[in-house]
């Protein structure tokens, strides 16, 4: 009977450990995958490690993660220990109040703490970045340190320090020679908890960071929409580092104890492995932070802060630009115009933004952009006429186009009847034949564009009745068609052929079609959104000269080619567009790459504050309806 119990226990334990390690193992295996897929292993390769080492973003994030963790751990351990000793001698009421205060970050949902920090920094106009992240980490680590030090202090003889001082020790010596050694185990475990909390933190860092400072979690969160196996490589590296450190911490004392069994067991023993572990980490951090110097280049030592869409630049353009100008580029990514707008509106400093048409109009109207200096630009002649002089900025006084395209339907030719598409247009999204086989795109303006166009209205309508009808169309779609509302996951999922239909940007469709020949791109006759994203310089930019240089660089053939061939979006540079779509080009024969011109139903988005508010509100209702329906 008892034996059998142990046996079931063992099985349960084994299953659980398998459960814990399965994803980690999977991740390690796929970090060596030659292909891009997360599901099929295509052969052994180190390409993602190479990619990781070359990616400035990932290296910076590793550096940020570990340097913040080390600093936050050190500071919070020292401060936390001192505060705990002090509090133990304070009056009871002070102690009780402080315990409650310390409970705030521990007993509150993390997102609430995060928002508290964010509001604090905003209210006092502290620029969000590395320092704010570090301050927030210190603030939430200290309570954990105190929590693990306090019990050790309580178990001390309260007269110990007095005894030491009676014997002639100064208070400082009494503290460092008598009290601290007694509570060392508590301090060490406090430091370990602080370190783990800091390395692992996502939510708080996400809300208090800015200026392109990202830790590993933020990178994973923002990259995860487009499959990027470099994440696996980074994670594997982190796993290896952490396992080594943990093994050192856990095994070294055992070995040391074994070897010197007869030695007096000093408290210092545990310090050796910890110090060793921290040294290893520090070394790694230093390695990541080694940067090469440069010679005589026009923008030597300057920094360009770009705020761009995620995965919206070529593989080499940033490094090439840095190489040529001597400047360093810090790129922050957004995944919606609205997200970008908020940061710009609260005066976060960037030198260059890449928003979409209607958002540029809004930024101009709200006086957040500066006029471009034409004498510094040499790129306007290289751009397609179709993307110049659009209604949002008729004379291109503020903006230089970057990418452009349309919105349409990506479909699996093997699953979707082309006649259904031609007959229904966007209404195919209400066709029950394709129930459960549909992706919607999480963009308020494009979803409403589809719903309005499906009923023959203008996508710029201000008529509330028409907007209401579009809203009902969307609600019907999410409630009856079992849709999934996705963002960039649609790219990989369609490339893998997971669903039959999806609303998609033409540039993403180009990528999908280049990866999977079964996929097609269809633009309904009832019209589409002729969008463009363009480079603009905000009013509060600190280095407009460098921003102009980047605009030229990204519009020139080499930069534009790198961008467009890697991302798949249509280049504003006419020569690049023609070369890529032409014979032997990367996107030869892919209809999604060349945007449609000449259809009278196609429109360019116009910004209207009132309609935008209504649509924004209604779209979150659609999403909530979808969530509650599922």
């Amino acid at each position: 009977m008892k034996k059998r119990k142990r046996f079931t226990g063992k099985i349960l334990m084994a299953l659980l450990i398998a459960f814990f390690y399965l994803p980690i193992l999977y991740m390690i295996i796929f970090s060596f995958n030659d292909g891009k897929s997360l599901t099929t292993f295509e052969g052994f390769s180190l390409r993602w490690y190479k990619h990781m080492l070359e990616s400035q973003d990932i290296m910076d994030a590793l550096y940020t993660t570990f340097s913040v963790a080390l600093l936050a751990t050190t500071v919070s351990t020292v401060v936390g220990t001192i505060a705990a000793i002090g509090l133990s001698k304070s009056r009871k009421i002070v102690r009780d109040v402080m315990t409650q205060v310390n409970n705030l970050p521990m007993m509150n949902p993390e997102i609430v703490t995060a928002i508290g920090f964010m509001l604090l920094f905003m209210t006092f106009k502290v620029d969000k970045g590395y320092v704010t992240m570090l301050l927030a980490h210190i603030a939430f680590c200290i309570p954990y340190v105190m929590l693990s030090v306090m019990p050790k202090i309580r178990s001390l003889d309260p007269n110990l320090a007095d005894a030491a001082m009676d014997l002639g020790a100064t208070p400082w010596r009494a503290l460092t020679k008598v009290i601290v050694p007694q509570i060392t185990p508590g301090i060490i475990s406090g430091a370990l908890i602080a370190f783990t909390m800091s390395v692992d933190d996502f939510i708080i860092s996400y809300f208090v960071t800015g200026g392109g400072v990202k830790n590993l979690s933020i990178i994973v969160y923002t990259m995860s929409k487009r499959v990027n196996p470099s994440i696996n490589a980074v994670s594997t590296l982190v796993v290896v580092i952490i396992t080594i450190v943990l093994v050192i911490i856990n095994v070294a004392p055992m070995l040391a104890a074994k070897r010197k069994k007869k030695d007096v067991i000093g408290k210092r023993r545990t310090f050796i492995p910890i110090t060793a572990g921290i040294c290893v980490l520090a070394l790694i951090v230093c390695m990541f932070n080694l940067r090469g110097g440069g010679q005589d280049r026009p923008f030597e030592g300057q920094t360009l802060y770009i705020y761009n869409w995620g995965e919206y630049t070529g593989e080499n353009i940033i490094a090439d630009f840095e190489e040529e100008t001597g400047a360093s580029v810090v790129m922050d990514n957004f995944d919606s115009n609205e997200q970008m707008y908020i940061k710009v509106a609260i005066q976060e400093v960037y030198d260059l933004l890449v928003p979409s048409d209607y958002m540029i109009q809004r930024l101009i109207e709200e006086d957040l952009l500066q006029k471009l200096d034409r004498s510094k630009l040499d790129c306007m002649d290289k751009l397609s006429d179709a993307v110049k002089g659009l209604p949002y900025d008729p004379g291109n006084e503020y903006s230089v186009p970057y990418f452009w395209g349309t919105v349409g339907i990506v479909y699996d030719k093997t699953k979707v009847d082309i006649e259904d598409l031609e007959r229904d247009g966007y209404n195919i999204f209400l066709n029950e034949k394709y129930k459960g086989d549909i992706y919607l795109y999480d963009s308020e303006r494009d979803s409403f564009m589809m719903a309005l166009k499906a009923q023959g209205y203008s996508m710029n309508t201000e008529n509330e009745q028409e907007i209401q009808e579009a809203y009902e169309w969307l609600v019907q779609c999410v409630e009856t068609m079992d849709t999934e509302i996705v963002t960039d996951e649609i790219i990989d999922n369609m490339a893998q052929g997971r669903k039959a239909l999806g609303l998609i940007y033409s540039g993403d469709a180009t990528y999908v079609m280049a990866e999977n020949e079964n996929m097609g791109f269809f633009m309904p006759e009832s019209g589409t959104n002729l969008w463009s994203d363009a480079m603009v310089i905000p009013k509060n930019a600190q280095n407009p000269d460098l921003a102009h240089a980047f605009i030229n660089y990204a519009s020139d053939y080499a930069g534009a080619y790198d961008n467009s061939s890697y991302v798949g979006y249509t280049s504003a540079n006419e020569e690049v567009m023609n070369d890529l779509a032409g014979e032997g080009g990367d996107f030869e024969g892919i209809n999604a790459y060349i945007p449609r011109t000449g259809n009278p139903n196609d429109e360019v988005f116009v910004y209207n504050e009132d309609t935008k508010k209504i649509i924004s509100e209604l779209w979150s209702r659609v999403k909530i309806a979808a969530s509650n329906a599922g």
Binding site: M27, F30, T39, V79
Partner: protein, 278 residues
Amino acid sequence: MKRFSQLALPYIVWAAMMLVLPMALIAVYSFMEQGNSILSFSFTLDHYVKFFTDKDFLLILWRSLLIAVKTTVICLLLGYPVAYFIARSREKVQNILILCITIPMWINMLVRTYAWIGLLSEGGLIQQFLDLIGLGNTELLYTEGAVLLGMVYNFLPFMILQIQTSLSKMDHSLLEASADLGAGPVQTFWRVTFPLSIPGVINGITLVFLPAVSSFFIPKLLGGGQYFLIGNLIENQFITVGEWNFGSAISMIMAVVMMLLMMAVRKVEIRNQGGKEE
């Protein structure tokens, strides 16, 4: 000796700035008319009214609480036997097992969650396994099940470690006494072991329930874009919609709901212990 108490002063100032003030600010913003400048404060209850008069928002709150309860129950049912098993092992084995459970916790939560995307997606390992045993073509990723799995995966270690700590602190002579007095193993477990482990269970519940309610990246990564929990709603208000005041109000509501729940749980604990002492 008393002079040591001054050591706490700097921290008291710091804590007031960095821990108390942020919470106060959330409260202030939540009662403030739309606008992000604290200097032009004008009081309103609109944001709270907006939340409580809309059944969609209430439904999201309800669903978030529900999935957190499910996560907590699963973690308890899985975690207790495992913690029990660990606590009854020899000390050396115990240390190794605990190390096994802690190592994954050291790896970034997002990274671990991200790994599940590959495992759960169509054509992934788990789907292939299901195909093999004839359960093919069930959608796994972007379902509530996936979110639940992600939460259990991430938060189960907290539960195990808390229960294990309280079980291994238990005095073994109590068990012998119980056996000597004629109780069977089952009776001993329910009358002696389990009640003594309740503090651990309560701590475990707190450590699982709290992050589960407010998590927003697990639903986003594993539940897909249309899976909204209260954390996503808050994130959305701050990051894409820009309605900070409404976002602050939701945060306040969540903080208060959690505080009430935690107080209720603690009360259960106190009553339980009070009862035993008599």
